[in-house]
Symmetry: C2
Subunit: 409 residues, 2 copies
């Protein structure tokens, strides 16, 4: 991509924000604020989010999920039928057009349960596993921390339907394992943390938390087993584990819930067993905050110069700057690297060298390649790793083989 | 994809619907209705929509667009500032949470104009071209015709910002050409139709219409030049063209608008010219109804047996049925065809042959491959083109070379 044809509104000065991710993603031109708790994703963020979603998609497909896209719009009456409309915790966060009688999807248990009724008749139709990447709306009273707690955010939510508790519980563990693998692929070291279900369920649920000093949650973790406990379940922590637990701050990036038959019974979702008797379907819900993942990565992968997202989620692989040949060598390297499948941002603007170099660090592509008068004299280019800061001068013809070691995903 | 692990709720009987697309997409398990004018996209539709969006994305990138994702949430006060809040045409279609003071994106001129202020300072920063795939909400009084007129739908909207009328008008023609190319790639024969801007602009605008007997628009078209006129501009049609025009029904799949400086002036979006004087930016808006495209394709590509979407947007390339070898040959062909890059739906269910064959026609993959006792005796498989209905028996080892001619995209 040529910088001159791509929209990157970096900023020299940004007002202090309430979080590192809001400050850096704004300054580096990834996002812009539309309203309190509502951020537009600009082109750099769109590229990162698409990569994050593709990794999550692959892992959800691998555990038998079928991708759907439900509507945000949900009739208010379906929330009354499930009993959630009378839950004050929900009522205060749900956007509603009272005249139209429509709510805006804060979560999707109701329409999913209603929808699968057209498929699930007998035990042979189970399990059903549906997931989506969807925009969620929640009227946060105190939206804060940039992409970490917003009023509108992108979420991957998966819903699973099973004949009984045993098969649900088995699948619940399958999802938990897939979640840990997903976060690991994204460059996040997630802990599985026991939690109460909050407003979602009366059953115990699990959260996936990433340890981060700026996180809003306070949890107790065991670093050896990568597990932990939410504050709300403290009284349930076995005494034998107390000595191994450390109190840390963390960001919740995913959660999984056991819904039992709450929604199946509300909407009459039953199936005929092999023995010919009718039973309510057992359901689970599983969420990953997609935009929050980008916020979390920004909180963890940065330094005083800007962002340094992991290669698998960075918007570009290579930031290419030609300061010496009126763009000729830059264009040549751009063609070569692009043809080899690398995603290259070529800074083809008429700007001062200092500005270009500072912006490369701010945006944070894993590799920066600079062709300057100094490197040109030796027939070399400068290669810098954003992660380590290490710089090396290498012959132009060795660039592509050398670059591969920095960009293994 | 194995059918048993994929969610396809086909239906034997579907109540009569108000449109062919609602009826067929519902019966074939592509969509399900959540509320009046709100349809969930099920896995088959998600696959088609992703292919449609990728074609649109490629064409928007080719004309210099940078992809963004803005929020649906927009502060009511920004609509008051642009003057659209007082337009009764808009007020009645916009979902609003009055308590939160937030509207739900019916269109995005306001936030786009406000956002680009952080980038556009001088003439050197122009043009700016942003586009997004976004969910739009419009409180249709009479939602109808399935995916053709809904309360919530997916849209590609592009916004362009220029220094003056001349450069805007030039880009407007660039987008018009890109739209015709996009629709052509999708298998749609679109006409460029002069129209009034309706509630969007006082300027003349263009619509892109696909001739379809079930369309809700009535337009006058010249089949030779592939152009036409909306009813609203009839009095502006040159007399010399009257004899060449035919009155037809059509579906509007895209539209492009000249906004002039309406939004720039409302939000103070100006730039410094090379001569050092300050001017308001000239803006254009360009929409394509993404979910409506799927509805339009379903209206046009079908027969009495079901859907037959073009190969470039069909959810799968090949529908594979093995009726003879307890799944052995089916599995073998599935592996071979998948490894060659084809998207194959293998019907691995325990269902009657008749049901499987009927469903293949209903879902409408471009190629159906059947291995049966009859074909097995000769070492052959049956290959059927969904588009032409033509059937041929070919040796198993010739399948992959033969199939390529049906699946050129």
């Amino acid at each position: 991509m040529r910088y001159s044809q791509f929209y990157i509104p970096t900023k020299r000065d940004v007002a202090k924000q309430d979080s590192v991710n809001a400050y850096l993603l704004n300054k580096a031109g990834y996002i812009t604020q539309i309203a309190a708790g509502a951020y537009a994703l600009l082109p750099l963020a769109v590229r990162s989010i698409q990569k994050i979603e593709q990794i999550v998609r692959e892992e959800m497909n691998a555990i038998g999920g079928s991708e759907v896209v439900f509507t945000a719009l949900q009739p208010q009456e379906t929330w009354e039928q499930s009993g959630r409309w009378d839950d004050p915790n929900f009522k205060q966060i749900v956007y509603l057009d009272p005249e139209a009688g429509m709510t805006f999807g804060a979560t999707h248990e109701e329409p999913m349960t209603i929808a699968v009724k057209e498929k699930i008749q007998s035990y042979r139709d189970l399990p059903v596993v549906l997931y989506q990447f969807q925009t969620k709306f929640r009227k946060e009273l105190r939206p804060k921390s940039g992409l970490l707690r917003g009023r509108e955010f992108r979420m991957k939510d998966l819903y699973s339907f099973h004949p009984d508790e045993a098969s649900h519980n088995e699948y619940y563990e399958t999802v938990a394992a897939a979640y840990l693998k997903t976060f690991d692929r994204l460059g996040l070291d997630a802990y599985r943390v026991k939690a109460s279900g909050g407003v979602f369920t009366e059953h115990i649920s699990d959260e996936f938390q990433v340890v981060c000093p700026t996180g809003e949650d306070e949890i107790l973790v065991d670093h050896q087993t990568k597990t932990g406990f939410n504050k709300e379940v403290e009284d349930q922590i076995p005494k034998t584990r107390h000595s191994k637990l450390e109190r840390v701050r963390a960001i919740e990036v995913g959660n999984i819930f056991h819904n039992g038959t709450k929604y199946s019974e509300a909407f009459g979702l039953t199936y005929l067993s092999a023995e010919g008797s009718r039973h309510p379907v057992v359901m689970g819900s599983y969420g990953i905050g997609i935009t929050r993942l980008l916020g979390t990565l920004a909180e963890l992968y940065n330094d005083e110069h800007g962002l340094k997202l992991p290669v698998q989620v960075a918007p570009f692989d290579i930031h290419l700057i030609d300061l010496a040949s009126e763009g000729k060598v830059g264009e040549e390297l751009y063609q070569t690297l692009t043809q080899q499948g690398y995603e290259v941002l070529l800074d083809d603007r008429e700007e001062a060298a200092g500005i270009k170099l500072v912006e490369a660090d701010l945006i944070g592509a894993p590799v920066r390649v600079v062709h300057s008068h100094k490197t040109a004299q030796e027939g070399k280019v400068e290669l810098k790793s954003r992660q380590t800061g290490q710089i090396e001068l290498i012959p132009k013809e060795d660039l592509t083989s050398r670059i591969a070691k920095y960009l293994a995903k």
